[in-house]
Structure formats: C-alpha cells, structure tokens
Amino acid sequence: MIRDIRKNPFSYLLILPATIYVFLFGYCTLPYLVIAFQKFNYKQGIFHSEFVGLKNFEFFFKSPKFLEVTFNTVFLNFMFIGFVIIFALIFSLMLNEARGKIFRKVTQSTLLLPNFMSWVVVSYIVYALFASDYGIVNVFLKSIGASPVSWYSSPGPWRVILVLIKVWKDTGMQVVIYLAAITGIDTSLSEAAKVDGASRLQTIRHIIFPLMIPTVSILALLSIGKIFYGDFGMIYGIIGDNGVLYPTTDVIDTYVFRAMRKTGDPSQAMAVGLYQSLMGFLFVFGSNWIASKKTDGGALF
C-alpha cells in the first residue's frame, strides 16, 4: 500500500479530499448513532444520556403510516431508478449513433440542463403545469373540450407525475456517464462486427449494450443504497403540505420531518435514519450478490 502511494502520489492526492470528507462525515459521526438508543439530553451528551433501548424506534414502527410511507419510499425509488436508467440508456445509445456534432452537443446540453435546477425552481415549473385554474395542462384540456382536473386534489396521478419529473431531471447526468462508458468501448469490436455484416442495431444489441451492463449495474447498486431515503427536497418542494396527496407521495423523510417538526427529537430522528441506513445496506448487499452472480464486473464488491 505504502509502495503504491509512493508510486502514484498524485493519484492519491486527488482522492485525499474525498477521503477526508468520508472520514469526517462517514466515520467520525458513527458514535452519534448511539443516541438512537438513548433519551438524548443536550446537557448530558452521548456518554451520560439515559439508555432507553428501542423506545425511539416505537414512534415510527408503531405509527399507522409506517407501511404506507415505507412502501411509497421504496416504490417511488424503484420507479425512479428503473425509468431513469431506461431513458438514459436509450438517449445515450441514440446520441452515440447520431452523426451531427452540433445536434449531439445541443441535445446533450438540453438533457443535462434540468439536472442543475433546484427542486424549488422545479416545483414552480410543476405548479405552472398543473395549477387548477391557469395551469398549462388544464388550459390545454379546456381548449380541446375536456374537463379540467384538480391535480392538487387527486393523489392518483402523482406517482406517474413524480416519475416523469425525476426522469426529466436526472436522465441528462446518467446520459453523460453512459456516453463516457460507450467511448471507453474498444472500437475494433464494432468495426469487426461491421466487417462481418452486422447492422447498427445488431452492433448496439450484441456489442455496445452488453459492454455497458457493468456501468449500469454499478450506478443502479449505488442508487439502491439510498432506496430507503426519500428525496425530501423533491417531494416537499413539489407536494408541500398537501395532505390530500400524501397517500401516494408521502415518503419516510417527509413523514419524519412532519412528525418531528414540533418536538425536534434528535434520538427519534436518528432511530429512523439508522433504520433507513440498515435497510439500504441490506438491499445493496443483496443486489450486489445478485449482480456478482449474473454479470461480469457489475458488482461493487
């Protein structure tokens, strides 16, 4: 290890900031997990606060909303991960085949742009689309003689709307990663296929796509690690305090935020955070095991 550091000092120097970050925020904060099992008192700190066992977990697990928000979190995240991957793959393969350089650059930039918008900005765009009175969608529906929909009073369509928003916002960044992966594929393979008479579609299907699987797998595994974490910024920004939409949109993070608003109990918040992390770890572990069996080089560890 030391020999390797001496051999590649600049490479290690480059990962130094990330190492420091992970050490500080990933490892130095670990002792604070203990407050999930304490009645934490600011004055007494983590060493002297009363130990209460699993009492802090009761608030969430005994909650009548436990199953609903857990299901919403996992379901929405699966939808997000799956559809973003599918759309990013389609766009990256299409862009790779496109020959116009300017068209490629413009399309790529257009796809990437939403990624840099904050959820607050996105929430205003979504509201402009779905507002009951002057929303673009309702104005369009009225113009074709259809009845307008009270979108913010109808929980049904919101899972689809949220997935569409997520795809619109996140696809661009994954397209960049997939295009980089495609660029790394040995061109002699495609050229050989071409010599053998393979069409462009056959080349994509039998050469490029299989070689992208490890990248897709690793990105998916990294996302699965956060599958029990709802995207608070997204859900709270778009849905806000609208309880009518909660049956389909309320996730663990927004539920805990709402429940803790008044009491602000750090122990109960930590208990839920610990549950989310443990579940995420188990999911990553399981998915990684599957990936190691089914793909070549698609597993994280």
Binding site: F10, S11, L13, L14, L16, P17, I20, Y21, L24, Y32, I35, F40, N41, Y42, K43, Q44, G45, E58, F59, K62, S63, P64, K65, S123, Y127, A131, S132, D133, Y134, S150, Y152, S153, I239, G240, D241, N242, G243, V244, L245, Y246, D250, Y255, R258, A259, M260, R261, K262, T263, G264, D265, P266, Q268
Partner: protein, 517 residues
C-alpha cells in the same frame, strides 16, 4: 508529464481547500440591506472570536436569519457601550439561515457547542421542548441577582407565560400585542366601501359573502383569502360561538373557559371552523390549490395587498403600489373580549445550558432594557450611520442609493414594547396596534402551562404528522367536512389521539391544582 503532475497537485490542493471551506461558514457574504429575517443562504455565520481576558464575559446569541453587512460593527459598538456602562462583556451574534435553522440548532446543541442565548419561536419549537431535552438552563436565581430592570419591565403574567414547571428558562420578547391580531379580522376597507359592503359583518359567513362580491368585481386571480400562516386556529372566525373564549393548543386540544380539556377535533367549534372554510372554498374565496401553495408566495401576496385578510404590518409595503389602500380591523361581536389564545408571547430568548456563564444572558437583557439608547443601538444600529431619530417614537433608516440598509434587526428578536420604534413612513393606524397592549384581553387559562409529551412521544409525533395529512384538508375546506371527517378522526385515533388528549388533561389538571388556577 511535469505539467500534468503540477495540474494534479494544484487540483488536489484546490479540492482539499474547497472541502474545508465548505465545512466552514466563515466569509459568508450577502447583498447590503438583507434583512435578518430573510431566508437566503444556508451557510452559518461564525463570530470572529478574539482572545478573552479573565474577567470578560461572552454573550453569544444564536439567532435565525442572514447576517446584515454591519452586524459585526454594531456588535462591537454594543460591546463598547457595555464596557462604558461598567459591564465587562463581549456581545456576538451567530446567525443561522432560516432554511437551516432546525437542523443546525439541533446539531449545535447535540454537539455541546457553547453559546449563551438562543432565539425561540414558540410556534415552531417551544421553550418546553428545549427544556425537555436539557437545552436550556433555569434563570430564576439570575433574575433575582442581575435582573432588576428586567423583572420590572416585563409583567409577572408574561414571565409565567413562558415558564416551564414554574421555572423560567427564557426571557420573553414582550414587544407586541397579539390579542388584537388573533381576534380581529383585518380586511381591505376601501374595497368594501367601493362595493357598498357592510364593514361590520355579523359573522364570518357574511364576511365571506362580501369577499366573494369583491372577487367577482375585481377580476384579479391573485386576490384571495390567503390564510395559511402557521396553520393555527382561526379564533377571529369563531367569536360568534356561545363557548367563546376558549383555547386550542397545537390543533389537538380544546380547553374551555372553565378549564375542561377535550379533543379539539371532536368539538362543535372545530366543525364550525371547517364549515366556514368550506363555505369560503366553495365561493372561490380560498384558492383551490391552497394546500400546496408555498408560504413565501402567500407572504408575497400579503405584501402586495392581494390577501383579503390584510396585514396591517404590510400596509407600508402595500401602499407603495396601491396608495389608497385602507385596512379595517374588526372583531365579530365586538362586545366580547379579545384573546391571543395560548400564545400571548410568540418569541423568547433561551439561556443555553452549554454556556459557561449562563448569567450573561440575563445581565445583557437587563442592560438592554435599562436605557432607550441601548435598545436603539441593538435594534437600529449606530445613530447617524444606520438611522436617525425622527421623533414621536419613529426612526428613519439611512440607506444607500438602492434604498438598502447595511444594518437591520427585527423587533421580534429582542425588542420591548416600551422601547421599540416604528419606521418614519409607517401608517398612523399601526401605532396603536404595535405600541399598545390590550389590557382587557382575555388571558387563556393554559398560559403558563407547558405540556410535556415525553410519556406519549410516539403517539404525539404520530398525531402531529397525521393532522397535516388528514385534518388540514378538511380544515381548509378542500375536502368537505361530511366526506372527510369520520375517516380523519379514525386515522387520528389510530395514531393515539385519545391517549395524547388524556395525558394533556392529566398534566393540565395537575398543574392547575398545583398553582391554584
């Protein structure tokens, strides 16, 4: 190759520096004139700590908002004045932006960070919730020792209002009366006169009919009843009920004038509130997307005069675009007393339990309220540089060419009603509301009682979450009472509502017995 290595070295160092810079909040900058009450950056400002000699006492005040440009200069001037007055104390403010307030305060307290004073907004996280977690230190002994002026200038009932189990942990901000603003409806008088509508409606239904007439004629899609702030009970709309006055706590507990505790959601008063809002919703007076509408947008409408429940404090801003705008403050059944509900005091400043010298906060407040000049220095900055005395308890802010001030500080943070001033251009109608207290207002029988939800914490948290989920849609009229009530009550009961109400009743009755109330 050498160039690549140099570039890699430079990049690594830059990233490392950036990582550490990201951890620190130092060096935050903002536009001049940014009010301390404006949510903006999410970087916490840190005071520049100088070496402190043995005798010098620190008074570090954790406050929400964005740090004004000249805040440090004013802090230095305050420190200088403190020393000139014989108090060897250094005053520093630590600003935490609004959007990060809850998280950063929790983090500060969890990690045992030292500071002396922290601002408390009772309707966000109450004094009792900080006390329950050991975040605040009792100050009664310090008040006896160092707080002569403080005890005189703040009435005993106000001290009792912020006490927890008979002990004081915070200094209440006694700067404004809430009884009038909680009990009276304030509406745009000029629009009522324009359409020949009664300015003394007998109840809220008549008021809503008038609002609907205005909407039909004004044809302004933004003009609505934008009443969503704090989600608190609309006492002003319930004054016509025989049971008035009563108190509703956290939208969960109803406490009658006689002291009976009942589940708020099972009362006729709650049903009446829902009916009033549903009536307004059906008339189009409430926006169909009210539940999703962002708070900041609603505040913007209020500032622009688009809220049918107008805000007298926004009048100055409204008149910039609508010079003829007039507000009427009217109490339905005016012969009945006014009431501020369970919040006679909305803001307080707690004494941190992590402070090595907790008496500093009390000494500071005692000094602050002992002289008009001290209060002016904190609230308006350095006279001649940041503000001018305009006489008649008014001040004129000194601004740059863009009309921005380099120093602002809200009176809700540390102000006192006898010492605060109004801006020179503020409307004459504001003075009685801002500077006078309603001595005849009904004082709720829950004032001074602080509910400790610890023994029912799981159920309490579930109820708080559920209320927003299933009760607010009925409360704002989006879902008809008849359609949603049974389902929402059932959800609340599953969340443990009965147990929480029973615990509140037990604690409240024990408190009344103990205090002979």
């Amino acid at each position: 190759m050498k160039l690549k290595k140099t570039a890699a070295l430079f990049l690594a160092l830059a990233l490392t520096a950036a990582a550490f810079a990201g951890c620190s909040g130092a060096g935050e900058s903002q536009a001049p004139g940014n009010s301390s009450s404006t949510p903006a950056s999410s970087t916490e400002s840190q005071p520049v700590s100088e070496p402190v000699n043995d005798e010098e006492m620190l008074c570090r005040y954790v406050v929400p908002g964005t740090e004004p440009d000249d805040s440090a200069e004013v802090d230095a001037a305050i420190t200088e004045k403190l020393k000139a007055d014989g108090i060897n104390m250094k005053f520093e403010r630590i600003y935490i932006p609004w959007d990060a307030w809850d998280q950063k305060v929790n983090l500060k307290m969890t990690t045992g960070d030292e500071f002396e004073l922290i601002h408390i907004m009772e309707d966000v996280a109450s004094t009792s919730s900080y006390v329950a977690k050991g975040g605040l230190a009792p100050i009664n002994d310090y008040l006896d020792q160092y707080g002569d002026t403080l005890k005189k200038i703040i009435p005993e009932n106000i001290w009792q209002a912020v006490a927890v189990n008979g002990k004081n942990y915070s200094v209440p901000v006694y700067y404004r009366d809430f009884a009038a603003s909680s009990s009276k409806v304030s509406f745009p008088k000029h629009l009522f006169e324009k359409y020949n509508l009664s300015t003394d409606p007998k109840d809220s239904y008549e008021l809503i009919d008038s609002f609907a007439t205005i909407l039909e004629n004004e044809n302004d899609p933004d003009l609505r009843l934008w009443e969503k702030v704090n989600n608190s009970t609309s006492y002003m709309h319930l004054r016509h009920l025989d049971s008035w006055p009563f108190t509703v706590v956290d939208n969960l507990f109803y406490v009658s004038n006689e002291g009976d505790v009942r589940p708020w959601l099972e009362t006729e008063e709650f049903q009446e509130e829902c009916k009033i809002f549903r009536y307004a919703y059906e008339k189009g007076v409430i926006h169909p997307d009210i539940l999703t509408y962002p708070h900041e947008k609603i505040s913007q409408f209020t500032e622009n005069g688009k809220n049918l429940v107008a805000d007298l404090y926004a009048l100055e801003s409204i008149r910039k675009t609508q010079p003829d705008y007039e507000i009427e403050m009217y109490a339905i059944e005016p012969e009945k007393p006014l009431s501020a509900g369970d919040y006679p005091i909305m803001n307080a400043n707690g004494i941190s339990s992590t402070s090595p010298n907790p008496e500093a906060g009390v000494i500071f407040f005692n000094w602050l309220y002992s002289d008009q000049a001290n209060s002016d220095l904190l609230n308006f900055g350095i006279e001649g540089k940041h503000w001018k005395d305009a006489g008649d308890r008014r001040y004129e802010a000194i601004t740059d060419e863009d009309g921005l001030s380099a120093y602002t500080f809200g009176d809700w943070e540390m102000g006192h009603k006898d010492l605060v001033r109004l801006p020179i251009g503020s409307p004459a109608e504001l003075a009685p509301l801002a500077l006078e207290m309603n001595a005849d207002a009904w004082v709720s029988n829950v004032v001074g009682f602080k509910f400790d939800p610890d023994s029912v914490s799981a159920e309490y948290a579930a109820c708080i979450a559920e209320i927003q989920s299933s009760v607010y849609p009925i409360r704002y009229g989006v879902v008809p009472y008849e359609d949603g009530y049974e389902k929402s009550l059932e959800a609340m009961k599953v969340a443990g509502y009965d147990k929480v109400v029973e615990e509140y009743r037990t604690q409240f009755e024990a408190w009344r017995k103990q205090n002979n109330k």
